[in-house]
Amino acid sequence: MSLLEALTFFPLAILAVIGAVGMVVARNPVHSALFLILNFFALAGIFLTLLAPLLAVLQVIVYAGAIMVLFLYAVFFFIQPGQRFTLAYSLPAQALLGSLVIIVLFTLMLYTLYRGSLFSVPSIGAAESFKRGEIFPINAFGSVLFSRYLLPFELTSLLLLSAMIGAVVMTRAPRNKNILQKKGITTEAQGSKDE
């Protein structure tokens, strides 16, 4: 691990953790979202140090850009008069139990990492391997994606299609407004979301 790497990695890692922790502890969901965006940015940086510039870019565009915007948008939906954010946490006991489990899990995983070994034999497929420390050319990336990983790629399209249909289904305005009026809540303008 070179110094440069260390210098970029550790601050970014700290930022990522701060973002993550912040997201969990922030009372206001909007703050949470912002913390998460911070985390995503930091991760994008880490992707860069891990020699994955394409992913870093996608991370910024897709995650920080599209997804988080969606999140914020959804959060804003809920900002209604009288709505409380304060009820954001669970009971202390729950938090305690949760933390306990997380600590155990994390310890276990760390132990695993400590005892375990990463796979060290060079990858078998020659096409997709590249020299250590080298950034993989984008066109090769494409050709691997569209040849060897054609199936998951195609499946993704199906996945997104179904997600789109689902989103439409869930957010369409109900035809029958009686239920809403009974609840005494006024309907707001609907926006269907898709990709």
Binding site: L113, I124, V144, S147, R148, Y149, P152, L159, I179
Partner: protein, 510 residues
């Protein structure tokens, strides 16, 4: 440097069932968008037809020899073809009952059919994939429509709640799945099952690998509703629309189980020593929790949900046997379970209304008088779930327990037997309600039903939209009855003469 793999178009004919389904999905969406044929009947008929085509295609292009596609990412063989055929059949039956159901609950929108077919595509792909990322994507394709479908009755709060719970926990579990895949990737250097199997001996310290496997099993276990990843099942099954539950209870299990078998035997067969004991403990936990949970349920759907958990428990006792031949027993069990449970939900969905499609035990009291045939069919399906002879459930249990016993896990068989005994109680409660209790005056018979204080205990569980009025006699639901008949026929046929299917499953084990 890059080598573009040639794709043999010829072998894609084998995927024609899947392609037909995809085409059908697209067609349905397009028609909907173009406001053509916007009725459940038309959509349902079209879906059913395409399913029939798919079935025919599957039969025509039956892979007598395994077919390798997408560079080995998909292996389509007899086993998966059988699974696919079963799934298609289940879907077909589900679709038949869906249109009347959607009409009854006054559902909006016509995305139901594309969604459920998409989900089936995911299910069908799942056992074929030999690569973890495709596997994960398949699971997502399977899941995401189900999330939506669970909450499809948007005007019913419970349905939405079911969808939400299912989704949030589902997403939670898929992050485990992905994380697990990542760890396996790191520790074995590949996510291709064949490569994993090849590289396994090279892995020096298996901790990371096992961590990844554990995470992977969390994700798959969640889909299968293995305890302790089961907790969504009762809530979702109770809230989700009945046809969807009927479909996913059986089909998801069938599909994910076969995927699990594929992953375990083709990917991690070498370290079966490590994962075998887990399934002993998980099976025991699952059986007990499922059965104990079901004991006091008043909602039929919830009861069946718990029972489905317990059935997963029985099934995964088979996984303690690290031999591919076990797949015959497991898949036979899963199929027999799926048929019975679909039959039950086909009948239950008859009584859905706009307000609720939950059915409580009180609602079906005296059913044998009002609708003797429905009651009889329900009873036979329940018998199949118990494992009483002349139904498929019995032979499935016998076969499975036989395999487990033969492998030397007598104690596991005995635990399963104890659980079957416990399960008899709650299944018979349903039969009691249908056949014995009078339709009138509620609740004071409870002391009667009460076997040693294990009361029905309905005090805190009352149906807000009591469906009692819904169970009317002579309610015309020919399609539901039709599906009931078909399931009954299959169930009994598998229980009396399962020679053919056992033969096929034996030949085409995984």
């Amino acid at each position: 440097m890059t080598q573009i793999q040639t794709i043999h178009l010829g072998s894609f004919v084998f995927l024609s069932p899947l392609l037909i389904l995809v085409a059908c999905v697209l067609l349905l969406i397009l028609l909907d968008a173009m406001k053509i044929g916007r009725s459940f009947k038309v959509q349902g008929t079209m879906s059913a037809l395409s399913l029939l085509f798919a079935l025919i295609a599957l039969a025509v292009f039956f892979p007598f020899n395994p077919v390798q596609l997408f560079g080995g990412a998909v292996i389509y063989n007899g086993f998966t073809a059988l699974i696919n055929a079963s799934l298609l059949l289940l879907l077909l039956l589900t679709i038949v009952i869906s249109s009347p159901y959607l009409l009854k609950v006054k559902s909006e929108g016509f995305e139901y059919f594309p969604l459920i077919i998409t989900s089936a595509i995911g299910m069908m792909l799942l056992p074929m994939t030999r690569e973890l990322v495709s596997l994960i994507v398949s699971i997502e394709i399977l899941s995401i429509p189900l999330y939506i479908l669970s909450g499809y009755n948007r005007h019913i709060e419970e349905s939405k709640e079911a969808g939400f719970k299912y989704f949030l926990l589902g997403a939670f579990s898929s992050s485990f799945l992905i994380f697990g895949a990542g760890l396996i990737y790191g520790s074995t250097g590949s996510i291709w099952l064949s490569d994993i199997a090849l590289n396994l001996p090279l892995v020096e310290e298996k901790f990371l690998l096992l961590l990844g496997l554990a995470m992977l099993l969390v994700g798959l276990g969640f889909k299968l509703a293995i305890v302790p990843f089961h907790s969504w099942v009762p809530d979702v099954y109770q809230g989700a629309p009945s046809p969807v539950v009927g479909f996913m209870a059986g089909a998801v299990k069938l599909s994910v189980l076969s995927a699990l078998l594929v992953v375990l035997f083709y990917g991690f067969g070498l370290i079966s020593l490590y994962w075998k004991p887990i399934f002993i403990i998980l099976a025991v936990l699952t059986m007990f929790l499922g059965n104990f949970g079901a004991l006091h349920q008043m909602s039929l759907k919830r009861l069946l949900a718990y029972s489905s958990i317990s059935h997963v428990g029985y099934i995964i006792t088979g996984l303690v046997i690290p031999a591919p031949a076990i797949s015959t027993a497991i898949i036979f069990y899963a199929i027999s379970y799926a048929v019975a449970v679909l039959g039950i939900f086909a009948l239950l969905s008859m009584w859905a209304t706009e307000k609720s499609d939950d059915v409580y035990l009180d609602d079906i009291r005296g059913l044998s008088q009002k609708e003797p045939l429905v009651a009889l069919m329900l009873a036979i399906f329940l018998m199949s779930l118990i494992g009483v002879p002349i139904t498929a459930g019995f032979l499935a249990k016998l076969y499975l327990f036989y395999e487990v016993y033969r492998a030397g896990y007598v104690y596991l068989v005995i635990i399963a037997i104890i659980n079957s005994i416990i399960s008899v109680y709650y299944y018979f409660r349903v039969i009691t309600a249908m056949y014995i209790l009078p339709a009138a005056a509620p609740s004071n018979i409870e002391g009667d039903v009460n076997f040693a204080h294990a009361a029905l205990n309905s005090a805190n569980q009352s149906n807000p939209f009591s469906a009692r009025a819904r169970v009317r006699s002579q309610e015309s639901a020919p399609l539901n009855l039709l599906v009931g008949y078909v399931c009954l026929l299959i169930s009994v046929a598998l229980g009396i003469a399962p020679r053919l299917i056992l033969l096929l499953l034996n030949i085409y084990h995984i």
